[in-house]
Symmetry: C2
Subunit: 364 residues, 2 copies
């Protein structure tokens, strides 16, 4: 079992990574002083419940924990205030009190949703994350929790750090392949913004990662969490540095929106976005090989690198102009300056971005 600490002073917490570590969940909960008197609420979604809920409930009960579960429909739609209210109904009926813990068993959707329940129930109770997607190595570090509003994603939320994260790589075996690949896209991003060596390692281990080789997964998740946690430790409340985590996301979010949040998955959209950032880097005078390498790696992982031709350039541009990263008219982009290095560039011209969007539609 690998262990990593997210260093946030008083709010520091460990991430445990390993195959089958959920077998030891009772011991880990004991170690972290999770209450056996106050009930635990475990939140999960319909897909995850099918594969992983029963054994975990069993282990917790065996260890003397009192635990109740709430299963939401799988999918982004569950990240809503309505579902949050339903979960609180379950919490109240089960008698959750201030010493209770909310456990999120699932991907980023369940993590964000259950995390906001934990942040707001009685103004904040304890929270444990059990991520079951690869993308969740990203969402489980940093303490950002939220639900969506019909008009905007992640707009209602809080910062709420978990007590611990239990990453059991065995749970990933049941993931559909498309979800595996898009999760790896965020892992590549963590390499590209911070760590050239890790990026190289990912390229060399693409096949193993896609095949869910346990050892490769553990190393990759560890490094991905490590990068995210370094960035977050230095900037907990998102002032400046944390922006680098948005590599590929400005274009990516616009693509997701214009494709109506169904054609492109998040990890796919940011894959295209990262190619776009590398193209912008070239316009700014940075070496072409950043673009070449970025694209080559993403392709090795079977991730898309071109914008579907039917998406309208004007619509993409206008979705980007609404992105909150554009303060007072300035266009801010995360630009790779080398493999494993980025800068926050506040002077990217709209014309360049449009040009890159057009190129990405013609990309090989």
């Amino acid at each position: 079992m690998k262990e990593l600490t997210v260093d946030l002073g008083e709010r520091s917490y460990p991430i445990y990574i390993g195959e089958g570590i959920l077998d030891q969940i009772g011991g880990l909960f004991d170690k972290h002083g999770i209450s056996k008197i106050s009930p635990i609420l475990l939140v999960t979604d319909s897909h995850v419940a099918e594969h992983h809920l029963a054994p975990i409930m069993g282990k917790l009960q065996e260890s003397g924990y009192s635990v109740v579960s709430h299963i939401v429909a799988a999918g982004e739609k569950s990240k809503s205030l309505g579902v949050l209210e339903d979960i609180v109904t379950t919490a109240l009926q089960a008698g959750l009190d201030r010493k209770s813990t909310v456990v999120a068993l699932g991907g980023g959707v369940v993590g964000d949703l259950a995390g906001f329940v934990a942040a707001s129930y009685m103004r904040g109770i304890r929270f444990v994350q059990i991520p079951t997607t690869i993308l969740a190595h990203d969402s489980s570090v940093g303490g950002k929790v939220a639900v969506n509003h019909p008009l905007a994603k992640n707009i209602i939320g809080a910062f709420h750090q978990p007590e611990m994260v239990l990453y059991d790589t065995a749970t990933l075996q049941s993931l559909p392949e498309r979800i595996v690949r898009e999760g790896l896209s965020e892992m590549i991003k963590h390499g590209l913004i911070w760590d050239a060596e890790f990026t190289q390692w990912m390229e060399d281990n693409a096949e193993k990662l896609i095949a869910l080789d346990q050892e490769a997964l553990q190393y990759g998740l560890y490094q991905g969490c490590r990068v995210k946690s370094i960035v977050v430790s230095q900037d907990e409340k998102e002032n400046d540095l944390r922006a680098i985590l948005n590599l590929g996301h400005t274009i990516g979010h616009a693509l997701e929106a214009v494709a109506n949040y169904n054609e492109l998955h998040h990890g796919e959209a940011i894959s295209i976005g990262m190619v776009g950032s590398a193209k912008l880097a070239m316009k700014l005078g940075y070496p072409e090989h950043i673009y070449t390498v970025t694209k080559r790696i993403l392709q090795k992982f079977g991730l898309p690198t071109r914008i579907p031709a039917h998406l309208d350039t004007d619509a993409i541009m206008s979705a980007m102009m609404h992105d909150k990263k554009f303060k007072e008219g300035t266009m801010v982009f995360i630009i790779p300056t080398a493999i494993g290095k980025v800068e926050i560039n506040k002077n990217v011209s709209t014309a360049w971005v449009r040009d890159v969007v057009e190129q990405l539609k013609q990309e090989a």
Copy 2:
């Protein structure tokens, strides 16, 4: 203009109290660096809007602020996730960003609701309170913000401190008399738990306070806020000391619930509860005069001191047993040990409480 600082380290903030201070709102906003570029969202309720919205909007606009308002229906029902979502719709349509400020213009309902919007919109933006009830001297200090769930009050919320509180006593002139009296009930509570001299002053100035004499109000609100702020400064996240603010509230909450939240207002219910606490104090061996004085003061303010006879004792007891202040079977009560002094007593027997409830139904 009186000024008081709520001392919370980095999150310290001032409370300004005075007649007509809203005329200077522009200057006060400038002083606290409220953004003129990012839009302000002012939340208020239908009653308050009728009397006070237009002049405040006017002043802010005159001073160069861009401000949009959202009016909710008056009453506790507006403290819901549904109304929160509606307010966020307004916020998004108005383009509120991370540098925006939410202003609560109203009583405790608007303060709690708008405060939770500020706490959760984009994971937290700035917040200013403009209390317009006397009770809100209590709710505007301490940073507790929340909405209700159909099954429980204030169960979904956060701790979110305002940038400042602007208490313009002129706004209180439009309050219905019953709302004035119940607000004064919390002010009396602040005297009883902490300050014998202030308690005496309140007794001596009951008529002036009820008549909304501006000077008396300012002094009373200042002292009430001061007591609350001392307690909160010493215990921001509600661990121990802060419990003393619940004098009269265990019985009070039960009465509100059993009376279906319509017969008794909150301030009235805790008035009866405070008499009950003084009776429990006698059972614990504290002097009878605590009871005599407590009751005499509350009666001077025209506040109720007996439980309406038709409320069922069993129902009251059972509502109390569900109160979250009873941890793991122990009954905790805030007990006055002298005028201006209380203790947190964890050994109050259920039988005594039942006895006191019965007596309160027969009270003269």
